[in-house]
């Protein structure tokens, strides 16, 4: 068992998969010589060479489209988009091409590619480098969406994403890269579509993912001291959504709050809440609530940035209103 940082766990997954399969290669801006803005691709160029670790020009739409084309020839490309905000430049290639190819070709070709990117607020990076835009991808049939919270899940889910036959949007969080956690030795594979109960509880369920998992766990630990037993379900993948685990937890506790950093309006929380109310209404003690980011661009100033995304205090307060 190794204690790794989130970014080191991702790096390990890339090394292992590129070593295992010569058809895996990675493209992105400043990922080679520099090892990536967050050091996730450090050492790959030296080990695998410039044919498989490709420093691209600033041309997101085209190198993402190139991943689609390369996948159709049988490769397993990974593209890194520095910030999820920049993924807005690649929406045609992801939404109209990658997500559609297998469908419109009548199953003549899968697109086994991974788009790695990172999102989230923190560090005063302001409105164009702080967004949580997973709902865009969640909305589009034909894409899988993965948002790991811990180093072990980051490693195991990235490996599964690379091996998956369909396009996977793999969204990391910039504030998680330096967080630490245990990653088992040997092969770590976490299947797509399986949530994990990160903390069991009796009184209320928090459904969450990505960095908000850590926020919810901290809130749950504090509430535990007050005698309130909170269950924390980390979705890990938004598509496919592990409805079974979500609904089972909702039925057990009867009280559910969905927590995410993305803006509340149009966020995936609304969809998950609706799903729970449609399918487990009789077992609920009240409406499913949401704790989410505010409907605003993220500002630069740290004090006003902080209030845009849910804090531990916000979650505690939200839970206390419901239990």
């Amino acid at each position: 068992m190794a204690e790794l940082m989130y970014r080191e766990a991702l790096n390990r997954a890339l090394f292992e998969e590129m070593e295992r399969d010569p058809l895996v290669f990675i493209m992105g801006e400043t990922i080679g010589e520099r090892g990536g803005s967050y050091k996730v691709t450090e050492g790959l160029l030296k080990k695998f060479g410039p044919r498989r670790v490709v420093d691209t020009p600033i041309a997101e739409a085209s190198f993402t489209g190139m991943a689609v084309g390369a996948a159709l020839t049988g490769c397993r490309p990974i593209v890194e988009i520095l910030f999820i905000d920049f993924a807005m430049l690649v929406m045609d290639q992801i939404v109209n091409q990658a997500a559609k190819y297998n469908f419109i070709s009548g199953g003549q070709g899968r697109v086994p590619m991974v788009l790695r990117t990172q999102g989230g607020a923190g560090n005063g990076l302001a409105a164009q480098h702080s967004q949580s835009l997973e709902a865009f991808f969640y909305h589009v049939p034909g894409l899988k969406v993965v948002m790991p919270a811990t180093p072990r899940d980051a490693c195991g889910l990235l490996k599964s994403a690379i091996r998956d036959e369909d396009p996977v949007i793999f969204i990391e969080h910039k504030l998680l890269y330096m967080t630490q956690g245990e990653v088992p030795d040997g092969e770590v594979l976490v299947p797509l579509g399986k949530a994990e109960i990160k903390k069991p509880g009796r009184d209320l369920t928090l459904i969450t993912y990505s960095r908000m998992t850590l926020i919810c766990l901290e809130a749950a630990a504090a509430l535990e001291k007050e005698g309130i037993s909170v269950e924390v379900v980390d979705l890990r993948t938004l598509v496919p959504l592990d409805k079974e685990t979500v609904l089972a937890s909702a039925r057990r506790t009867g009280k559910v709050i969905v927590v995410h950093e993305a803006c509340r309006r149009g966020g995936v929380g609304g969809d998950i809440a609706a799903m729970i109310m449609e399918e487990a209404y009789d077992d609920l003690d009240g409406p499913v609530m949401r704790i989410a980011g505010r409907n605003t661009p993220v500002p630069y100033n740290l004090n006003i940035e902080k209030v845009c995304v849910p804090s531990v205090e916000d979650v505690i307060e939200g839970v206390l209103k419901v239990v």
Binding site: F63, M66, L72
Partner: protein, 331 residues
Amino acid sequence: MKKAAAVTGGPPAPAVGKTLDGELLLHIYRNIYATRRFELRCIELYRQGLIRGYLHPYLGEEAIAAGACAALRRNDYIVSTHRGHGHCISKGADLKRMMAEIMGKATGYCGGRGGSMHISSREDNNLGANGIVGGGIPIATGAAMGVTVKGTDQVVIAFFSDGASNNGVFAESLNLAGVFRLPIVYVLENNHYAVSTPVECSTGCCDLAGRGPAYGVPGICVDGNDAVEVYRETRRAVERARAGEGPTLIEAETYRHGGHHINDPGLYMDPQKLAEWKTRDPILLMRRAIADEARVAEVEKRVDYELEAAVEFGKNSPEPSVEEFLAAVSD
């Protein structure tokens, strides 16, 4: 015509013999004629309500696909466009499965899910048409990257239009192919209109081939109605690509015989210009090049027979099952 076979930038390409093999000429003619007849038949079927949606005829432009694809091996890749019937046929597609697809039938290449605008035939390594103008350019570029990673000597042709060449991905992809010296030939079909906007109203510089050298990609302009010239120059470019010498941009100048799609009468088109271009119809030029009426008639007869069989096949094929479709949709 602007300029014929003028190469700008890059090393000189190897010479290709002046006289082409008679069988090759007939093969190219077969694909031009098949595309022409196929589309005219599609227009009839459309008017009868047997084909729906968008259908973008390639009438008048057939020499480009037929000439360019003749320069490829079977396992080389192409990426096509919304105006893609000629590419599909010239890369070797079965007219039956094509017609069935365009009629939305379960036996079509895409099981009726794609239609004219999304047709692909993977067995021919035709990665498919595209409903987004320019959308296929990065995909083709990536296919060239893919074969490089795999270490095969396959080559890719990206077909796209003058309209697509004003989209950002054209610039990005040419730059990427130039820097990585990818084995790809960009075939820019300049039919003079982006939907209804004439090319001279959509760019300040109509020398589209001249955009290649700006990215270290040799650019060349050819007569797109002359399939033999298209073939010769594509073959040079394909040989360069296969030898690891990188990409080429070929601008093939042509003229659409009608509007943007089947329901666009193309009233904005210049009738005099169209009449001039029609005197240089790819079918006429190719018949002249072959100069053997008997063999031409034989090819045409075979295509006509094949086409009618394809129409019958399409008409008699089942619709995709709604139940099967819904069963495969996840919630």
